[in-house]
């Protein structure tokens, strides 16, 4: 199952809404429409998550620790992209 406490411990600034039973977490980022969704799949005992609207394939992991690491990577990539978008200097992705 998803352990919201582990996510909360890793990302103390995220506000987490969980469903009952806890198979899905929706994490809103500030007051924007951007949502980080995490799902638990009973069938193969794994998690997957994606940033809402992000058309990259879902990221599957098997443990909560892996999940936290993957979310960190995803955030890093998203923030790097934001920095690039904010830059007045044109650069190729």
């Amino acid at each position: 199952m998803i352990d919201p406490g582990k996510i909360k411990a890793a990302f103390p600034n995220l506000s987490i809404e969980e469903t009952e039973p806890c198979t899905e977490l929706a994490i809103k980022i500030g007051t924007t429409d951007l949502v980080l969704c995490i799902y638990y799949k009973d069938s193969n005992d794994s998690f997957y998550f994606f940033l809402c609207g992000n058309d990259r394939p879902y990221v599957y992991v098997n443990t909560m620790d892996e999940l936290v690491e993957e979310i960190e990577d995803e955030f890093d990539e998203y923030i790097d992209e934001l920095k690039r978008l904010l830059s007045g200097k044109q650069n190729v992705r």
Binding site: T32, C52, I79, L82, K83, S87
Partner: protein, 287 residues
């Protein structure tokens, strides 16, 4: 100001965002929700942020020259902002947009942070609390653009002086030190040849012959240290901000000035203060 002109300015100011006019938007399912505004008779340009459904939308009334605009970052209700459609208002829009994007980026940075203490990016993604060495490194990486920016700014400043706009702060002096430095720089990079009149009253750029046979190259100007160049650009930026506050400049000078501020901001040399369009804080860069 029409949609095409707005798009041109947005692409220039945010070259890494893909701005789309409404005609193209119909093809993007995630933005169909915005269609209502297009159908309302207003025109809009929209940019998606990193493949997500998050979008920046700018709407204008297409029918009048002094069309008002408003913009929003989806989901961020606080960022719905209106302008009056004037040229000055367009640049206010750019400044507001940059500041709103920065707010959003900081929101994500904070959300992703493992610490509850505050972490912030500067206007263009550099960490503003970078050490002086980092700032110097930033500037060195921007060196070619720095030279181009000084050339553009200096030429535009001198041209506006030539247009008799009341830009010169020390009109009664024999020479405004800033004008003199601009001219010296332009001569040193081969942008202008020697003045016909050597009395160093440099208020008329028409006294110079444009030089086309010499490629501008900073390698030809050993007397201009990086520090000198940065100082000149900072002084030009300050003069630009003063003129901007007094509304005494041409559109071209306004464009050059905004480009200068963007460059200095990117290098971590200046920072917008309190969301204002004219108050910037400058920091020192020591070699």
């Amino acid at each position: 100001m029409n949609q095409e002109e707005l798009l041109k300015v947005l692409k220039q100011q945010f070259p890494n965002l893909e701005w789309k006019a409404p005609r193209d938007l119909i093809l993007i399912p995630s933005i169909v929700l915005q269609k209502g505004w297009v159908d309302n008779g207003s025109c809009s340009v929209i940019s998606q942020i990193h493949r997500t459904e998050l979008t920046i939308t700018i709407m204008m009334e297409p029918t009048s020259e002094d069309a008002p605009w408003c913009f929003m970052i989806s989901g961020e209700r606080e960022h719905v902002t209106r302008g009056d459609g004037t040229a000055k208002s367009l640049y206010d829009l750019i400044v507001l947009l940059r500041s709103s994007l920065l707010d959003y980026a900081n929101l994500v940075v904070q959300a992703a942070s493992k610490s509850s203490s505050k972490v912030e990016l500067d206007e263009t993604g550099f960490y503003f609390d970078a050490t002086p060495e980092h700032r110097l490194e930033n500037v060195k990486n921007l060196d070619t653009r720095l030279v181009e920016c000084i050339e553009l700014m200096a030429m535009q400043y001198m041209t506006d002086l030539d247009n008799n706009l009341e830009l010169s702060i020390d009109e009664d002096n024999i020479s405004d030190p800033l004008e003199l430095r601009c001219v010296n720089f332009l001569m040193d990079v081969g942008k202008v040849t020697k003045p016909l009149n050597k009395d160093y009253r440099w208020s008329k750029i028409s006294r110079f012959h444009q030089s086309s046979d010499k490629e501008p190259a900073i390698l030809d100007t050993p007397d201009w240290s990086l520090q000198d160049r940065i100082t000149l650009l900072k002084d030009l930026a300050r003069r630009f901000l003063k003129c901007k506050a007094n509304h005494t400049m041409t559109h071209d000078f306004m464009c050059a000035g905004e480009q200068t501020l963007a460059l200095l901001t990117e290098a971590g040399i200046c920072k917008l203060v309190n969301g204002s369009s004219v108050f910037y804080e400058f920091v020192e860069v020591d070699e």
